[in-house]
């Protein structure tokens, strides 16, 4: 339970692990854009995107099945959306027909296309979360959001809130477990009854959790005050992120991928 704060992080010291988290975040976004750039039914573009994942996984030293496993969480969503595509698409040649259900070749292709697109996006972001701790991601986001200071966005506070939230996830998980056990010992039943009853049964958990969260927030506030916290002004930062050659290599690779996809889109006018 305590490992939630680690997210899916797979500890290792690889090329990808040692990249600047800011670059990893930006590249992940670029990757998503790249996948969406692939024109409909240009499956070769997907092949290029998949090749990118394979290379990235290989140099990250994360076992490939871990990356594949990330798809598991959204499997239901993937199946659901492809079934919808198959069932409600009326374009193209009819392959089979039964009652109101019409299955066409375009419908099948579209389902395959959407499925692959979602899977590629998820696998791409999984590489980010597998090689970057949530703390690093929070730091990276803070740095990336810095320009927003110009429009008075409280970047420092936002980052602090994120990092405190991450810090307290394991604590609150433990606490929830403890409260659940304590109420179960008093005969509370969370497993039976209708929906309404089950929601009501959560009150004896949620209220103590809420009360203790307020208490924790209070105490944390005092502890932060006592350690001279007074906002972003005059504050220095210990952790500094510096891009290295790794980040620029990755950047170049990504540029290559996007260029490749755009080329494939244009050159091959006909879907493959």
């Amino acid at each position: 339970m305590k490992d939630v704060a680690f997210g899916q992080y797979y500890p290792a010291r690889s090329f990808v692990h040692r990249m600047d988290p800011r670059f990893k975040i930006v590249l992940s976004i670029a990757y998503i854009v790249a996948v969406f750039l692939v024109r409909e039914f240009h499956f070769l573009g997907f092949a290029a995107a998949f090749a990118f994942i394979v290379i990235a996984t290989a140099v990250s030293r994360v076992p490939f099945f871990k990356v594949l496993k990330s798809v598991k969480g959204i499997l239901f969503f993937v199946i659901f959306s492809s079934v919808l595509q198959v069932l409600f698409n009326r374009e193209g040649t009819v392959l089979a027909e039964w009652w109101v259900i019409v299955i066409t070749d375009v419908g099948l292709l579209r389902a395959a296309f959407i499925t692959l697109r979602i899977m590629l996006v998820v696998m791409g972001t999984a590489i980010l979360t597998l090689t970057t701790t949530p703390v690093e991601i929070a730091d990276g986001l803070e740095s990336l959001l810095t320009p927003l200071k110009w429009i008075k966005f409280p970047v420092h506070e936002f980052a602090l809130i994120m990092s405190i939230a991450l810090r307290f996830i394991p604590t609150l998980m433990d606490e929830t477990e403890r409260i659940i056990n304590a109420q179960k010992a008093r005969g509370a039943d969370f497993e039976s009854g209708n929906l309404f009853k089950r929601i009501r049964a959560l009150i004896p958990i949620l209220i103590p959790l809420l009360v203790s969260s307020f208490r924790r927030a209070d105490e944390l506030g005092d502890a932060m005050d006592a350690r001279c916290y007074s906002g972003a002004k005059g504050r220095t930062k210990y952790k500094k992120m510096r891009p290295t050659y790794r980040d620029f290599i990755a950047l170049a690779l990504m540029a290559g991928l996007i260029a490749g996809i755009v080329l494939l889109n244009g050159v091959l006018g006909v879907p493959v």
């Binding site: 680690f6 810090r167 604590t171 105490e219 502890a223 001279c228 220095t236 210990y238």
Partner: protein, 277 residues
């Protein structure tokens, strides 16, 4: 002027019916180790909070190193000098990773980046946690978390360390870890320590003990002096340490045992009085 000086300090919480502290006078010299004991609600935690400026006295004056703790304008300077470690190990660490947490204080007071690294080294080795520098705070034991909390305070390089029941939620092993670290800081680094506690055996480490009851300092003296006044302590709803209690029973039974409050001393005495038969 003494290093810490409090004169006629009163404090009443908003909406409270009576004062939490009423007329406390206190002086602490540099390098002293002072323990503060008292029953729950005696005002001992309030005192700790006033010294760090988390609360301001409703009446009276407090000076630490010449800086007024009653003045909100000098709060920042005060807090640089007075570090506090609180009770709950889970509620005072800000960051998930140990070194990031220790860096929090120095970052707040604007220490340059390079020096923060040095301060983290110093603070973590002072509490014996250097090998956990990159660890997740959530994976540490209670005692280790409290030691990180102490390091987080030390990194600000304070003059006084206040422990506000910092061992109350720890198991014996964790308590020992924390008290050993604090003792070492006091003896070797000359850190002034003010420890609020209700573990009588921790009190034995102090140079001086203050007993608080209903917002007043009612007893003050060395541990030996305080623990010899058993009836008085009982009146203030406090205990004497077990060895002192046993010594008292033996004294009442006719054995000539002095004012003793640690088990080691009592062991020595017993070995002297009960020679091998």
């Amino acid at each position: 002027m003494s290093f810490i000086e409090a004169k006629e300090v009163y404090y009443r919480y908003p909406q409270a019916e009576k004062d939490a502290l009423c007329g406390v006078d206190l002086t602490v010299e540099k390098g002293e180790y002072v323990a503060v004991i008292g029953h729950n609600g005696s005002g001992k935690s309030t005192l700790a909070r006033l010294l760090n400026g988390l609360l301001q006295p409703t009446k009276g004056e407090i000076f630490v190193d010449g800086i007024s703790a009653a003045d909100k304008k000098t709060l920042f300077e005060l807090r640089k000098r007075v570090g506090v470690v609180f009770q709950n190990p889970d509620n005072q660490l800000v960051a998930s990773i140990v070194e990031d947490d220790v860096a929090f204080g120095p970052e707040n007071i604007g220490v340059p980046r390079k020096e923060i690294g040095e301060r983290i080294d110093f603070a973590l080795s002072a509490v014996g946690m250097q090998e956990y520098r990159k660890s997740m705070a959530s994976r540490l034991s209670g005692g280790q978390k409290q030691r990180v909390a102490i390091a987080g305070v030390l990194a600000i390089r304070p003059e006084v360390l206040i422990l506000d029941e910092s061992t109350a939620m720890l198991d014996p092993r964790g308590r020992r870890e924390v008290t050993d670290v604090v003792k070492k800081l006091n003896r070797e680094n000359g850190m002034t320590v003010l420890a609020v506690t209700h573990y009588m055996d921790e009190v034995c480490e102090a140079d001086r003990v203050l007993v608080l009851s209903d917002g007043k300092i009612v007893m003050s003296g060395t541990p030996a002096e305080i623990f010899s006044r058993e009836e008085e302590l009982e009146k203030y709803e406090l205990d004497v340490p077990v060895p002192a209690r046993i010594a008292a029973m033996l004294r009442a039974g006719g054995m000539e045992i002095g004012r003793i409050y640690t088990k080691e001393e009592l062991g020595d005495e017993l070995c002297r009085l009960l020679p091998k038969i």
